[in-house]
C-alpha cells in the first residue's frame, strides 16, 4: 500500500469514532496556531527590515556589532560553565542520596529541589543581597566598598544554584534505575571500589550525565531573570538583549533575529538530547528488587560525600534564609531593623497582581494537563497520519527559550482576528502550550507502562472506547496527571521569560512585579513578593500531595522530563 493509502486507511479507521477524529483535528489546529505560527512569525520577522520589506539586514547587523557577538558568546559560555558545574554538584548529590545510607535523605531531597519550585531568579536576588555593593557578606562582613558582583561571576553563581537541582533530579533518576547488582558483580570478580565506580557505575551513568548537561545548558541559555538582574551592562546576554531591543529600542526585527540566534544552540542541544542520547540510556531494571549495595562507598568516601551534601544544603538554606530575612528587614544593607512594611506594601499595591497570577495559573494548569494527557493518549494508543509531527510540535515549546516564544506571541497575536495582546487569554494560552509537554511526557511514560491488554479487557467486557478511557485508563494515569498539574502550576506561577512580553496594565504577574521591584532597587519589597509567591507554590504542592497519594514519585518522573 502506498504511503498515501496507509494514511487514508488510518483516517478511515479513526473516523469510525467521530469524536476521536474531531479531537485529533482540534489538537492539530491549536498546535499549529499556538506553537508553530508564533515561531514562524519570529523567523519571518527576523528577515524583515524595519520598514517591513524582506532583508538580511538584521543578521548583517548581528555580524557587525561586537556587542551582539559578545551576547551570543557570553550566553553560550555561561551555559557551558553552568552545565559543567551543575552536573558535578548534581551528580555528587544524587550519588550520595542513592548510594549511601546517610540520614535525613527525604529532607535533603526536598531541600535540593527547593530551587526548582521557586521563581528562577530568587537566587539572583539572594546573590545581590549577600554579595552586591551593599551586600551582607561583601559590605557588612568583609567591609568591601562597592563590590561589583555583576557580570559573569554573578550570573554564573546564581545559575549554578538555580539549575544544579535540575541536574540532581535527572541524575538521581539515572542512578536509581542503575541496578546495583552490576556493581556487586564487578566487585565479585575482583574490582575495588574505585575500579567499580570507574568501570561500571560511571560509564553506565555517562549518557545520563550528558543528558543532564544538555538540559542545564538549555535552561541556562533560556534563563531570563538571572541575567536581567545580574548581567549588568558590560556583560550582554542574548535573552535579555533580545528583550531590550524590543522593549527599549522598539526594534522588533532585530529582536526577532536575536531570538532566532538564541534558538539555534537550544534546539540543537535538544535534538542531540532527544534523538541521540535518549536511545543510549542503559535501563537495567529487572523484576527482582535488589538491596542497594552500600559496599561501593567506603567509610571515608561517605564522610566526604556527607560533608559535601551538608555544605550544599547549607548554601540553599542560606540563600532562602536571606530572602526571608530581606522581606522583614527595613532597608537591606543600611538598616537591618525588623519591619512588616514590605508585606503591607506588597499586599496593598500588589494584591491585584497576586490575584492575576493565581487566576492565570489556575486556569492554565488544568487545561495544559488535560491537553497533555489527551495528546499522550492519542500518540500512544492510536495510529494516524502526522502522529510524529504532533508529538514533535507539542514538545518543541520546551526546547525553545521563553524569550523566543514571548516575542513570537506578540508578533503573532497583535492583529484581528487573533488580537490577544493585553488580554488574560494570551497569558493563559502561552502557559497552556508552554507546559503541555510536561503532561505529554508523563502521560506517555505512564501509558507505555500500562499493558494495552487491560484496556482490551475492558473492551472485551463491553465498554466502548470512551467508557474505557474514563473508567480504566484515566484512573490509572491519574497520579501522573496530577503530578503533571503540580509541575505546570509551579511553572505557571514562577515563569518570567515569555510572560514579561505579554503582561499588561490589566493583567500583571508576580514574577514581573518582583523583577520591577529589583530594577527600582526595592529589594525588601521584591523579597516580600518572593516569599508570598513561594508560600503559595509550597501550599499548592502540599495540598495536591495530600489529595493524590504517591504523587511524590510522579513529581520526580515528571521533573526529569524537563527540557525534553
Amino acid at each position: 500500500m502506498t504511503k498515501f493509502g496507509t494514511a487514508k486507511r488510518q483516517i478511515e479507521l479513526l473516523a469510525r469514532d467521530p469524536l476521536l477524529l474531531f479531537l485529533v483535528g482540534a489538537i492539530f489546529l491549536s498546535l499549529a496556531i499556538f506553537v508553530a505560527y508564533p515561531l514562524v512569525a519570529v523567523l519571518s520577522k527576523s528577515f524583515q527590515s524595519e520598514q517591513g520589506s524582506f532583508s538580511l539586514e538584521n543578521y548583517v547587523r548581528f555580524s557587525q556589532f561586537g556587542y551582539l557577538w559578545n551576547a551570543l558568546w557570553n550566553s553560550v559560555l555561561v551555559g557551558v560553565v553552568t552545565g559543567i558545574a551543575g552536573v558535578l554538584l548534581g551528580y555528587a548529590a544524587a550519588f550520595t542520596i542513592v548510594r549511601t545510607n546517610i540520614r535525613f535523605k527525604k529532607f535533603l531531597h526536598l531541600l535540593f529541589i527547593l530551587p526548582i519550585i521557586s521563581p528562577p531568579f530568587t537566587s539572583a536576588l539572594s546573590v545581590l543581597m549577600l554579595l552586591g555593593a551593599n551586600g551582607l557578606i561583601t559590605h557588612k562582613l568583609l567591609g568591601i566598598a562597592d563590590y561589583n558582583i555583576y557580570g559573569f561571576k554573578g550570573v554564573m553563581l546564581s545559575q549554578v544554584f538555580t539549575f544544579a537541582p535540575v541536574a540532581y533530579l535527572t541524575l538521581r533518576g539515572v542512578l536509581d534505575s542503575l541496578n546495583p547488582t552490576l556493581e556487586d558483580a564487578a566487585m565479585n570478580v575482583g574490582a575495588g571500589r574505585w575500579q567499580t565506580f570507574r568501570r561500571v557505575t560511571f560509564p553506565l551513568s555517562l549518557p545520563g550525565i550528558a543528558s543532564a548537561f544538555l538540559v542545564v545548558f538549555i535552561e541556562s541559555l533560556a534563563d531570563f531573570g538571572n541575567p536581567l538582574v545580574l548581567a549588568g551592562s558590560r556583560f550582554p546576554m542574548l535573552s535579555t538583549q533580545a528583550y531590550l531591543e524590543i522593549t527599549g529600542s522598539f526594534n522588533l526585527p532585530l529582536g526577532a533575529a536575536l531570538a532566532v540566534v538564541l534558538m539555534l544552540p537550544s534546539v540543537t542541544a535538544f535534538a542531540v538530547q532527544r534523538y541521540y542520547l535518549q536511545k543510549r540510556q542503559y535501563t537495567t531494571v529487572t523484576g527482582k528488587p535488589t538491596s542497594s549495595s552500600s559496599k561501593l562507598v567506603s567509610r571515608n568516601t561517605r564522610r566526604v560525600l556527607t560533608a559535601f551534601v551538608v555544605i550544599f544544603g547549607t548554601f540553599i538554606l542560606l540563600f532562602y534564609g536571606t530572602i526571608i530575612a530581606g522581606a522583614f528587614t527595613t532597608v537591606w544593607g543600611y538598616n537591618y531593623g525588623l519591619t512588616l512594611r514590605h508585606f503591607i506594601y506588597a499586599f496593598g499595591v500588589g494584591m491585584d497582581t497576586i490575584k492575576d497570577t493565581l487566576i492565570v495559573a489556575l486556569v492554565s494548569t488544568p487545561l495544559s494537563g488535560l491537553i497533555g494527557m489527551l495528546i499522550a493518549f492519542l500518540v500512544v494508543r492510536f495510529r494516524f497520519p502526522g502522529k510524529g509531527a504532533m508529538e514533535f510540535t507539542s514538545i518543541l515549546n520546551f526546547a525553545v527559550p521563553g524569550t523566543v516564544i514571548g516575542i513570537g506571541y506578540i508578533l503573532a497575536f497583535n492583529q484581528p482576528p487573533l488580537l490577544l495582546i493585553g488580554t488574560l487569554a494570551i497569558l493563559v494560552l502561552n502557559f497552556v502550550f508552554r507546559y503541555v509537554p510536561v503532561g505529554i511526557q508523563s502521560g506517555i511514560a505512564v501509558l507505555r507502562q500500562i499493558d494495552p491488554s487491560i484496556e482490551e479487557a475492558a473492551r472485551n467486557l463491553g465498554a466502548d472506547s470512551i467508557t474505557t478511557f474514563r473508567k480504566v485508563t484515566l484512573p490509572l494515569i491519574a497520579p501522573a496527571f496530577f503530578s503533571g498539574l503540580v509541575f505546570a502550576f509551579v511553572r505557571a506561577m514562577t515563569a518570567i521569560s515569555a510572560a514579561i512580553f505579554l503582561v499588561s496594565a490589566q493583567w500583571n504577574l508576580l514574577t514581573v512585579q518582583i523583577l520591577n521591584q529589583v530594577g527600582s532597587g526595592r529589594l525588601g519589597v521584591a523579597a516580600a513578593f518572593s516569599v508570598i509567591l513561594m508560600a503559595i507554590v509550597l501550599a499548592a504542592v502540599a495540598i495536591i500531595g495530600r489529595i493524590v497519594p504517591g504523587h511524590e514519585r510522579g513529581m520526580r518522573t515528571v521533573t526529569i522530563s524537563e527540557g525534553f
Binding site: 556487586d184 564487578a186 566487585m187 574490582a191 561500571v200
Partner: protein, 362 residues
C-alpha cells in the same frame, strides 16, 4: 551464622534473616540451599560473597576467616539471578572484566577466554552486545564471567529462574557437568526442588532462617526429618501410626519399619510418610496379604505416570502414582481398587517424638 536487618535502636524492627546457621561445604562439592522465598538462602549466599555482613558468626574459606575481607578479595565468583551483564560492554569484555582488572597479558586473556567460550558454548558471540543475546546466552555469559576467574568458590543465586522450563532443564545438566569437570566448590541457591535434586551433592533445606535438614538428595527424599521437608521435596502422604514390635501399625495393619535411633517406644504415636510412587495398586484378591481396599476419587493422566486420589476407610485420602500407564488400563473415578505399601517405602518422621508428650498428657 546470624544476620539481622533493621534498626538496632529499635529491636522490634529487627528481622532475623539467617538465624544461627552453621554449614560446612566440602571441597569440590556442590551444595544447594533450598527453601521457599524469604527463608534466608539468598542472604546466606550474599554473606558468603561479602555483600552482606553477618551480625554474628564467622565465615571461613578453608583455614582463612573471611568476615573482614572485601567482596573483591574473596575469589568467590557469583552467577547472579538477574545475570548482571554489564550493558555497556560486549560479550568478550563482559567475560574479560575480572581478568582485565588483574592486568593480565592480552595473550593470556585470549587463551583463557578461548577455553571458557568453548566450555560455555559461547564461541562466535564475543562481539555481541548484551541486548542482542537471548536469555540463555546471557546466562552463559554470566557463568563464563564467573568461571574464567578460576575462583576457589562458585556461587549461584537462582541462576536458572529466568529461563523457560525446557532450557532450564538443559542448563542444569550443563551446569552440573561443568562443575564436576572443573571440581569447583559451589554453593547454589534455588527454590526449585527438582533443580536442587538433580544438580547437588548435598542439599540444605532452609525455612525461616534456619536449616531444617541437610543431606544427599536421595537421603532427603527418602528420609525427611519432618513434614515441611517431606512436602517441600516432592509429594508426600502423611499417616498416623502407632509403634508396635518391629514396626508400626496403620489402620489395623502392620508394617515393618526401621525405628532405630528415633527413640520411639511401643505404643507411641508415629507420624509416617510415604511417597505417592511407594504405594502400589493391586487388583482385589490378587495378593496373599489383605491390602487396603479403597475407591478412586480422582484420576489424572500425567504422561509418564497416572496420579490417583484414593479414599480408604479410616485413613486420610492417599495420593498414588502408578508408573507406565497403558491406554485402557487406567482406573477411572469411582473404581474400587486395593493398594499396598512397597517394602521400605514407609518412613517414620523424626519429628514424631514431639507427639510423645502430647500423647502422655492425654
Amino acid at each position: 551464622m546470624l544476620k539481622e536487618f533493621g534498626n538496632y535502636d529499635d529491636p522490634s524492627s529487627l528481622v532475623v534473616a539467617v538465624d544461627k546457621v552453621s554449614l560446612r561445604v566440602e571441597e569440590g562439592a556442590l551444595v544447594t540451599l533450598l527453601g521457599p522465598s524469604g527463608c534466608g538462602k539468598t542472604t546466606l549466599l550474599r554473606m558468603i560473597a561479602g555483600f552482606e555482613d553477618p551480625t554474628g558468626g564467622d565465615i571461613f574459606f578453608g583455614e582463612r576467616r573471611m568476615n573482614d575481607v572485601a567482596p573483591n578479595g574473596r575469589h568467590a565468583a557469583m552467577v547472579f539471578q538477574s545475570y548482571a551483564i554489564f550493558p555497556h560492554l560486549d560479550v568478550f569484555e563482559n567475560i574479560a572484566f575480572g581478568l582485565r582488572l588483574q592486568n593480565l597479558s592480552a595473550a593470556e586473556i585470549r587463551e583463557r577466554m578461548a577455553k571458557v567460550l568453548e566450555l560455555t558454548g559461547l564461541a562466535g558471540l564475543e562481539q555481541r552486545q548484551p541486548n542482542q543475546l537471548s536469555g540463555g546466552q546471557q546466562q552463559r555469559v554470566a557463568l563464563a564471567r564467573a568461571i574464567i576467574m578460576e575462583p576457589q568458590l562458585l556461587l549461584f543465586d537462582e541462576p536458572l529462574s529466568n529461563l523457560d522450563a525446557k532450557l532450564r532443564e538443559q542448563m542444569r545438566i550443563e551446569l552440573r557437568a561443568l562443575q564436576q569437570r572443573l571440581r569447583i566448590t559451589s554453593v547454589y541457591v534455588t527454590h526449585d526442588q527438582s533443580e536442587a535434586m538433580s544438580i547437588s551433592d548435598r542439599v540444605v533445606v532452609m525455612r525461616n532462617g534456619r536449616i531444617e535438614q541437610e543431606g544427599t538428595p536421595i537421603g532427603l527424599y527418602s528420609r525427611p526429618k519432618n513434614r515441611f521437608v517431606a512436602e517441600f521435596i516432592g509429594k508426600a502422604n502423611f499417616l498416623d501410626g502407632r509403634v508396635v514390635a518391629g514396626g508400626v501399625e496403620i489402620g489395623g495393619q502392620h508394617f515393618a519399619v526401621d525405628l532405630g535411633g528415633s527413640g520411639l517406644r511401643g505404643g507411641d504415636l508415629a507420624e509416617c510418610t510415604i511417597r505417592p510412587e511407594g504405594i502400589r495398586i493391586l487388583n482385589i484378591g490378587s495378593v496373599p496379604r489383605t491390602p487396603f481396599a479403597g475407591t478412586v476419587r480422582r484420576s489424572t493422566f500425567l504422561g509418564s505416570v497416572v496420579e490417583y486420589e484414593v479414599s480408604i476407610e479410616g485413613l486420610s485420602p492417599l495420593l498414588v502414582q502408578a508408573p507406565n500407564p497403558l491406554e485402557g488400563m487406567i482406573h477411572s473415578a469411582g473404581s474400587n481398587i486395593a493398594v499396598d505399601f512397597a517394602p521400605g517405602a514407609l518412613h517414620v518422621l523424626a519429628s514424631s517424638k514431639k507427639n510423645e508428650s502430647d500423647h502422655l498428657r492425654h
